[in-house]
Amino acid sequence: MKLLSRTLLKIASVKLAALAVLLVLGATTTAMAQNPRIETSQLDGLAAKASETVDVNIDESLMALTTKFLSTKDDDERKVKELVSGLKGIYVKSFEFESEGQYTNADLESIRSQLRNPAWSKIITARSKKDGSIEVYLMHTGAQISGLAVLATELKEITVINIVGPVDLEKLTQLEGEFGIPELGLESSKPKRKN
């Protein structure tokens, strides 16, 4: 009887250990899958070929520090502060080249492969052979947006934007031309598509 109970205890312990291992592995995998931060360091090599490079890396702590310097008295700054409050990071990489064909499909694939994760959903795809393409992805946690990713490519330009945290897309889109942020008129120089 005593031997039986000891054997059962051993079996239970081993099963518990196996369950714990599975739980840990599962939790780690889920955490990685639900991570709205995308890795863009593989594009760093393009900086050597680019004529214009933009690289912005603002993590959570720097974001908190930065928002302290946005005034609450000024309306514009207050609106920007509201927009970025709660964000955990903004990461932008943009390369502009003198000539075409400086970046490869492999460069794009390294980003797209991360965005194929089921946690991401593509909300906008605008493709044009002449003007390039823009893909906008969102990650949701429950009903809330937890991440935004934009992959914009043109013949001589590639831009990857990754915002981590709850993003207000409407407010963000309306920023252009407001708050002292100039209208960049990105589309004005290009012919409009006819459909």
């Binding site: 051993k10 312990s13 081993v14 518990l16 250990a17 714990a20 291992v21 840990v24 939790a27 780690t28 955490a31 990685m32 991570n35 760093d44 900086a47 050597a48 070929k49 004529s51 214009e52 490079t53 933009v54 690289d55 912005v56 890396n57 993590d59 702590s61 720097l62 974001m63 908190a64 520090l65 930065t66 302290k68 310097f69 946005l70 903004i90 932008v92 943009s94 906008i124 044009s128 823009i134 906008v136 935004l148 934009v150 914009a152 831009t159 934007i161 915002i163 963000l172 889109t173 309306q174 920023l175 252009e176 942020i181 960049l184 008129g185 990105l186 589309e187 409009k192 598509r193 459909n195």
Partner: protein, 204 residues
Amino acid sequence: MNSNLNSDADYLWDKTGEPDPEIQQLEEILGTLRYQPRPLEIPAGLHVDRQRSFFRSHAAPLAIAATVAMLLLGLGLWLGLQRLQRSPQQIVKSPDTPQVRPVSPDENQNAATAASSHQPEQKRIEESPRHRVNPSLLVRNSKRDRNTAVKDQQLTARQQQEALAARDQLMLALRLTSAKLSLAQRKAQSTNPPDLIHNQHKIG
């Protein structure tokens, strides 16, 4: 002869028949060596080593230890992952000779000073047909202590410079993001002309 042999054989087989003196003598000699049931007596001075497998004898504690170790490993992985996400990458933009390099504190200070003169830089962006970026905006976040929580404590001069530079970076990032999102929105709308829906509404 034959019957004698048979009777001997019976005695030899099951002790029936006529007893054979020779056999009886042998029985007496060998009888002292016959099995006699008695309990096993283990000598008091004899030590028996228990050679049980270590893993078998300590299965339960080992399983618990492995569970704890796996939990710690998982926690470590998770923390490492979180830390990796926050690790800053140091990249500086130069319009003529683009390169990726770390920024020294002195450079950072200069850049922050340049970033504070925000007006002329913004004017240049407005004039540009495309989003030309002022190099002064692309200062790198210098290494900082992530453990120091930025709350209501007094900010050091260096932190202020970092924050100013980061604010410009933030504005630049927001500009780009907003521009790209607007462009995406416009392109998406142009591929789905509103007239189509409008006409359908009229017919309906």
